[in-house]
């Protein structure tokens, strides 16, 4: 298991290098620098600014020194928020985004697994069709449509829940979490239905039935563990998607998280901030993919043997 994790970690290094290089080149080939603002800045001031941020050096030198900084965990200063480092900005947004993502995942797993398992117990009956049609609606309803609709219904017409902010009024986390979580709930429902159907047709479930175990025990103790493996494998990539989703949800509900910072940095051409957040996102995604792979190996005895056999 340790060797498996280590080899996967080693594979992550070239991926990260590609991410950093591509982002670096892309950002630096952008027309218009970070200081080409609305106001005309005197040439000397511009030069001084560029010297301060090392922008006057040749590109490869900037690249090498940036790589060195990143290895030491220093993403540099922000161009648009003078006096603040990218590390600080990422840190201040991360907590919010992580909390939002956590609640969204709770919503997704809770609703998704219940719907999927319910559907798998009586396939091709109403008990299957109703949750699965709902799941299809969830997949076809993008968050940038669902969010405003929820705001319109629960925030404005019914006036039950607050529609913007984060951690200010009680209940202001409910709508964002549901908006972000619904799409994943739908995918998880489909995956857990498929996984459960496969497991429920296997011999050991028949054995459990023959022993006279209650349906609750059969599902909860024997079937779930195998049936949810596709869901676990989905969680890693889902996390990546969750970050993308946070761009929209944080914009709709005006939540001061990483996603909104990123979109703003992209609009502002805040070089170091874009580079920093991209590298940070990429690292996160790679780590989460690794974790979900390891969890899948741990859950599935067959895969475990394969890994040991290597």
């Amino acid at each position: 298991m340790l060797r498996f994790a280590l080899s996967r970690l080693l594979q992550a290094i070239p991926v990260l290098l590609v991410v950093i290089t591509m982002t670096f080149l892309l950002v630096h080939s952008a027309p218009g620098g970070p200081f080409s603002a609305d106001k005309a800045v005197p040439a000397e001031v511009l030069e001084a600014l560029e010297a301060q941020y090392n922008l006057n050096q040749p590109l490869w030198q900037q690249y090498i020194s940036y790589l060195g900084d990143v290895v030491r965990g220093d993403m540099g200063p922000s161009f648009k928020y003078p006096g603040r480092s990218v590390n600080e900005l990422i840190y201040s947004g991360l907590g919010t985004t992580a909390e939002l993502g956590f609640y969204a995942m709770l919503v997704a797993i809770f609703i998704g697994v219940i719907a999927g398992v319910t559907a798998s117990m009586r396939p091709n009956t109403m008990q299957d069709y109703v949750p699965m049609t709902a799941a299809m609606i969830g997949i076809c309803m993008p968050s940038f449509l669902l969010g405003p609709l929820l705001v319109l219904i629960f925030g404005i017409h019914l006036d039950w829940l607050p529609v913007s902010g984060w951690n200010q009024i009680p209940g202001d986390k409910i709508l964002p979490a549901i908006t972000l979580g619904t799409g994943y709930a739908a995918y998880i429902a489909r995956l857990s239905r498929g996984g459960m159907l496969e497991v429920l047709s296997q011999d050991y479930i028949r054995t459990a039935r023959a022993k006279g175990l209650s349906e609750f025990l059969i599902i909860g103790k024997h079937a779930l563990r195998g049936g949810l493996i596709p869901v676990v494998a989905f969680l890693g990539p889902a996390f990546a998607g969750l970050l993308g989703g946070s761009f929209v949800v944080e914009t709709i509900y005006q939540i001061p998280g990483l996603g909104r910072f990123y979109v703003q940095a992209a609009f502002n051409r805040d070089y170091t901030m874009i580079l920093g957040t991209t590298v940070f996102f990429a690292t996160l995604i790679i780590v989460f993919n690794l974790l979900s792979d390891m969890l899948a190996v741990w859950l599935n005895p067959k895969l475990r043997q394969q890994v040991r056999g290597e």
Partner: protein, 293 residues
């Protein structure tokens, strides 16, 4: 000659495609999806001739009005007919969906077919590249691309297509690997056919099933991506319009004029619905494991 052809028809069994069509026809949701899709495509093609009003035709005095007999889906704040705008927006949304998917299809099929067919070290290198690209946070790169190079429709096709080809390449590679060892390919080899002809004539047609299914499922995810970017203000730019952009505008005024959000939303969701149901139906129909019952 005549007699010969009759015997041929008499002996003919149902081919894979006829089989699939029979199965697909039994799936009501998929057929409804297919019908809706054909309807939407026809509407989109004919929009310039059948749209009830001009695309930029304003009536500032009227302003935003709810649905009425003259304007079936109401008008926006400039008094522009919403039905017309949704029809024009759909043209762009569908076009992005189809063209970007076609880009992904072309790259993915060729790349996967070559990797799977050549095999060995070439395959290992090619697939490792796919693995690396898979791990990249693509959403972020697309946002970056649109910001760096400006919002331009061609770049959008390219960027989205460049993301979506990866899965296609994997699927095709897997198919080709298993096809490569079959007798009819060996026979083609021994007849002295060139590699390229074997790939084109024998390998690619046999991978069509999974490719068609995955293509049908790629179109909605591409349309979603375009709508997402347009919603953030990074995709299609006015005066062009797409459903994502219309939803973006609709959100701004949804408190006073909810229909400006709801109708483009319904249009987008229904289309995604149709494509997903059709894709699911095709998967069931083309999967040999769910063979004749």
């Amino acid at each position: 000659m005549d007699a010969n052809s009759t015997t041929l028809t008499a002996e003919k069994g149902t081919s894979l495609w006829e089989d699939a069509w029979i199965k697909l026809r039994k799936n009501h949701l998929a057929i409804v999806g297919l019908g809706l899709l054909v309807f939407l495509c026809v509407i989109s093609l004919l929009t310039p001739w059948i749209a009830p009003y001009g695309y930029e035709q304003q009536d500032l005095l009227m302003g935003a009005t709810p649905p009425s007999a003259e304007h079936w889906l109401g008008t926006d704040v400039f008094g522009r007919d919403m039905l017309t705008r949704i029809m024009y927006g759909g043209r762009v949304s569908l076009m992005v969906g189809f063209i970007a998917t076609a880009v992904a299809l072309a790259i993915g099929v060729i790349y996967g077919a070559v990797a799977g067919y050549v095999g060995g070290r070439v395959d290992a290198v090619m697939m490792r590249l796919v693995d690396i690209l898979y791990a990249l946070p693509f959403m972020i790169f697309i946002i970056l691309l649109m910001v760096v190079f400006g919002r331009n429709l061609l770049l959008l096709f390219f960027a989205i297509g460049a993301v979506e080809w990866l899965t296609m390449a994997r699927i095709v590679r897997g198919q080709v690997m298993s096809l490569r060892k079959q007798e009819f390919v060996e026979a083609a080899h021994s007849l002295g056919l060139s590699q390229w002809i074997i790939i084109r004539r024998h390998i690619i047609p046999n991978t069509l099933g999974p490719v068609i299914v995955y293509t049908t499922l790629t179109i909605p995810s591409v349309m979603l991506l375009e709508a997402f970017l347009s919603f953030l203000g990074l995709g299609i730019q006015p005066p062009q319009s797409s459903w994502g952009l219309l939803i973006n505008y609709g959100v701004e005024t949804m408190e006073e004029y909810p229909w400006l959000l709801i109708f483009p939303g319904i249009a987008l969701s229904l289309t995604l619905f149709a494509l997903n149901f059709l894709g699911d139906g095709l998967r069931d129909a083309l999967d040999p494991r769910t063979a004749k019952d």
